[in-house]
Structure formats: C-alpha cells, structure tokens
Amino acid sequence: MSRERNLAINIHHLTRVEGHANIHIEIKNGKLIEAQWAIIETPRFFEVMLQGMSAEQAPFLTSRICGICSISHSLASIRAVERAMHITPPPLAEVVRRLAMHGETLQSHALHLFFLAAPDFAALPSVLPLMESHPEVVRAGLQLKELGNQISIAVAGRATHPVSLVVGGITKVPEKQQLEALRTMIQERKKALEQAVTFFEGLTIPDFSRETEFISLSNGVTYPAIGGRLVSSDGVNRDENDYLSMTNEYLRDFSTSKFTRLSRNSSAAGALARCNNNYHLLHPKAQAVAARFGLQPVCHNPFMNNIAQLVECVHMLEEAEELLGMVFDMKGEEIKCHYTPQAGAATGAVEAPRGILYHHMETDDEGKIVRADCIIPTTQNNGNIYDDLQVFVEHLLHEGKSDSEMQLLCEMLVRSYDPCISCSVH
C-alpha cells in the first residue's frame, strides 16, 4: 500500500514550542527522501555581547538568553565565574539557589506538560479549549505552574530574569512569612499534582523507541541540579570543565542552532536523561509515580520525556519542602561572600529544565569576561530529534498512518523534547 505513497509535510514555524523551527518531511514512492528538523531562529550572539562585560554583570545578561529557564542561565554563569575566580558561596546561598532551580523546573515542566504537550493528546489546538473540556486538569496544571513561579519569586526575587542570584551568593533571603506561605502552598498543591498524574495515566503515550545515549549531571548523592560530574548512559564520566569533549559541537547549514554528539551520532539531554542516569536518587514518591507509568532506566522512548517531567515534578515538590526546612534552620547565616576579581577560566554546568546547560567563562584580572561559551540543552537534543525523525517516519509509514496522523505524531515527537529554540540559538 505504501509503495507508491507520496507525501510532503512542511511545518513552517512549528507551534506550541518556544522559538522558530520548521519540520520538512518528503516521501516519494513510499520511500523516505528527507526528514528535517530545521531551526531558523535569529541568533543574538550572546557570547560576543559578553566580551568585555564585568563578570558580576554577566549572569544578568545570560539570564536573558531564555525567558523560560532564566534562573538556570543565571546560575550557570554564576557557577562558571565563581569557579574561575575561586569563590566559594556560603552554604545558605547554595540551598536557596537549589530551591530557585526547583521552582523554575516546576514552572517550566507544568508549562510544557499542560500548555504545550497536553492539547496534542486531546486532539485540540491549544490549552484554551482544554480549559473548557477538562477544567479540573487545566486548573491543576495552573496550580503547579503557579507554585513553581511562587517559589522562584520568593527565593530569586522574580520568576523570569531573577534579581537576587549574584556572583558570591545571593542578595536576599525570603522573609519568614514568605517561607511559611510557601510551605503551606507546597502541601496544598500535592493534590493538584496527584490529579495531574491521574490525567496523564489516562493518555496513550506513543510506543516508539530508538536506542540513544543519555547525558546528564550526576553527583551520586542528590538528584542533579547545580554542578557535578558529566555522565552518559554509555558509561562516559568526566570532569565539569571537560564540557567540550561532551558536546563536540558542529554546524549543519540548514540550522542556526548547532548540533552535538558524544559516543554515537546523537545523544539526548533533559528530564528523561536525568531520570535514566539518576533514577535511584529520585524521591521514593517520584519513583512510585515512575513505576505507575512503567518508566524504568534506561528508557529509550522519547515520548516518555513527558512522563519523566511529571516524575520530576513529584521529586521537585518533595525536595523543595526539605530545602525550605533547611532555609528556616539556616536563617541568619551569611548569604554573600566578598571576593577579589581575578583571572581564570572554568565551566559552570547546571541541569536546566530541558537538560544539561554549560556556560564557560574566562575572566581577566580585573574581573572582566574575556571569552564566553554557552552550550544549551536543546542544542544537545537537535541531533537526537533529527535521528529520531528518520526512524519514526519509517515506522509510521510501515504502520500505514494517514498524512494527518503522521504530521501530528511528528509534531508530538518534537514537542516531547520540549525544545527551547531561541535559547539554543542565543
């Protein structure tokens, strides 16, 4: 039946993703000619803008790389600069920073799961009609997103483009009442999370696997957030400063976002990679939810990244509660250290919501940035999305899917990665 099938799918500016990218698929006489994932976002040249900027100002600039994961960018720059200048931030600052990361991840995952991904599963164009057909589900999603934002606002001063995360520590600790309100909110929102889990349990996750290499941070003690070893599911384990050998960036002439590779032709970063590489460090309640969806390491189904995000929401909520307790206990401790600018070079790696994020900063002895390099999670997923599409389209052809089913499923595949496109081009 498929032997004489001809089909051209041209999705110009894919919807419900952050940024501008196209999907082109061409099938002639039943054979796949091309399946292309092409990012056409305009570059902003952050690495060039950073040249000559004072290191203390750099995190305020790099947070503007991304409107969704600005806290991750800020903290990656802060970590790179602190390591380059041998600055050790006070312990309370580190706890607050980790909490800020959790708030951001919760917000970002909820935005993706409910606003960007869920409408596909209900065959709807957006969350707006979903608000009418499934009001309780959307309300639960909004409550989780709001919780994430409220955590970030309380501990970083603002949800988008944080104000109080700085080189040397933080500028402000939340007031006691704010912390108490957050604690209550976390407890209340656990019910919304359970509702979300039940909703996703009722959805059919496409059954498709392609073996790949998963890359994440790992520290062996806690679920990764800020800094650590660079590891892969193929057994790679390297120092944080060795980020270039983990990424091996290269250019494709149809994309303004670069591609990367490690042991194979492509690799993946993000919630699924973190879960695959750090499963035993997930909170027991998060592991229990993973088990409900049959998510076990190493899972090679890219659509399960949605479920991995949901599992991480459970983890983040539980750990945020513990971290809040620590902030209470540490109240009054130092939050910012004095430092003398110095020349140096180092990498700061963090687990942004969409995966491992590297900022590398070189400073001069006045504390100005001499050279900067930023490698974004979506950049590290481009090769995997591209390679997935080749195999997935063949798979769908074999299954005899209609043209419209094929287009929807390819869009869903790409959305599963939660690509952050303007971020990846930066």
């Binding site: 419900r16 902003r44 503007r64 409107g67 001063g157 949800a159 988008t160």
Partner: protein
C-alpha cells in the same frame, strides 16, 4: 466585546510572552477579555483577523521586517511589548561589534544572515509601548483593561525610587551600588532594588529624569563611571555617557 489580539515574537527570549501565561490565579479572568487570534507559542490555531498585535523582540533579519510590515497592515493597534521591542534591549549590545566578528566568533565560516539590532519603531509605526525585561504582568493586565474599556493606557511618569521607597527598601546607593532607580520609569513595582539588586533601567528613562544630577550623585559617592556606562548601555534605553 472581547479584544481580538495576536502575539508575535521576533528576536528575543520570549520571556515577555511567557508573562501572559503567568499570574495564574487571575489568568482565567484575563483570558476572558481576549479573543486570541494568533499566538504561535501556545496555540496551533492561526487566524489573521486581529485588531491588536503584541510585538515581542527586536529586529535582526530581513524576513522579520517583512513579517512586521504585514502585521502593521492588519493591526489597528501595534504594541511594542517588552524592552527588546521598545529599545532593542540587551540584544543591542551586539551593535558594539562588527557583524562579521559576531558571525565569525559563533559560526566560523558558515553564512548566517544577521543585521544590526533595531527596535520595532525603527521599522514600523508603534501605537503603544509596554517596556520591561520582562514586562510586568500586573501592568499588562491594567493596560488590557484600558483597551477593553476604551480608555487611554498610560505609564507612570515617575521613577522607580517612588515604588522602591514605598516598600521601605534600603537604598542601594547606601550599600555602595549604582542603581538606575532614580532615572528609570516606574511601573514594575521595583522588584530589583527591593531584592537588593540594582535597577538596570529596563523600562527606560522616567519623564524629566535629571541625568546630570544623577551623574553627579555617582561621582559624589565615589562610584565607578565605567560601571555606570555598562549599566546605562544594558538595554539600550538611555543615551550613552560622554566619554
């Protein structure tokens, strides 16, 4: 009647569009005022019969110019949405470098089209500006209500210091920092200085701000004019200091 609105993103981080989906508790009421005709980031439905166009981001490529001209044809009200749209924003820092250096540094020999950064009003006429990096959702809500009720939206004329003092914040100058609060337009409720982090003036200059007096203040406090230059250049929202 609901406002027929569309949201378009150009060269930027899309953080201002994201604010539209924030303030979750008032989101259903906010959305009830709007008939969203075109908003690629959140919806696969795309219609071209909108009256109000929110434009986020700055202009850095020719295809963006074409898109903007088409939007101007359709929209009755074009809103420059956020600091990148209003001033060029942080993206403008690129303009201190030669285009060829930018491309060489990031892409080597690959051909990548990029133009010097422009704000939206450099390309098409803008009817309304909502500055901010990111925009303040509370202000956006207020302006949307203005538009829905047919009243004229305005921005506060006074500086950020007014909103900062109302929250009894210790002045950043007392902590030895240069804060652009005294010369920057309020309306954000001062999240930066109240978070003990200096204002970087993302909303541009307040009406009648006294720059000479501000420079004198920085000098009097013995603070660095180079640092002041760096801050003033951050969003391309102020005139540069004379060297």
């Amino acid at each position: 009647m609901k406002l027929k609105i569309a949201s378009f993103d150009f060269t930027c981080c899309e953080g201002c569009q994201l604010q539209l989906a924030n303030s979750e508790s008032s989101l259903p009421d906010f959305l009830a005022l709007l008939d969203i005709r075109n908003f690629r980031e959140i919806s696969s439905e795309r219609h071209h019969d909108y009256d109000i166009a929110l434009i986020e981001g700055s202009v850095t490529r020719q295809d963006e110019v074409e898109r903007l001209l088409a939007i101007r044809e359709q929209a009755k009200v074009v809103v420059a949405f956020g600091s990148c749209a209003c001033f060029g924003g942080v993206n403008s820092l690129k303009n201190r470098h030669a285009i060829s250096d930018c491309v060489d540094t990031v892409y080597g020999n690959m051909v990548v089209e990029t133009l010097p950064v422009r704000k939206i009003s450099d390309v098409i006429a803008v009817d309304l500006a909502i500055p901010g990096c990111p925009v303040s959702k509370a202000e956006v809500e207020r302006i949307v209500v203005n538009l829905a009720t047919g009243s004229l939206p305005t921005l506060p004329a006074y500086p950020v210091c007014v909103e900062c003092k109302q929250q009894l914040t210790t002045c950043l100058f007392e902590l030895g920092e240069i804060c652009l609060g005294p010369i920057s337009r309020a309306g954000c409720n001062a999240p930066c200085p109240t978070g003990q982090s200096p204002c970087l003036g993302c909303r541009g200059a307040a009406d009648d701000s006294n720059m000479p007096a501000f420079i004198a203040l920085v000098k009097e406090r013995g603070l660095s004019l180079d640092k002041l230059r760096e801050k003033l250049a951050f969003y391309n929202a102020f005139d540069p200091l004379p060297q």
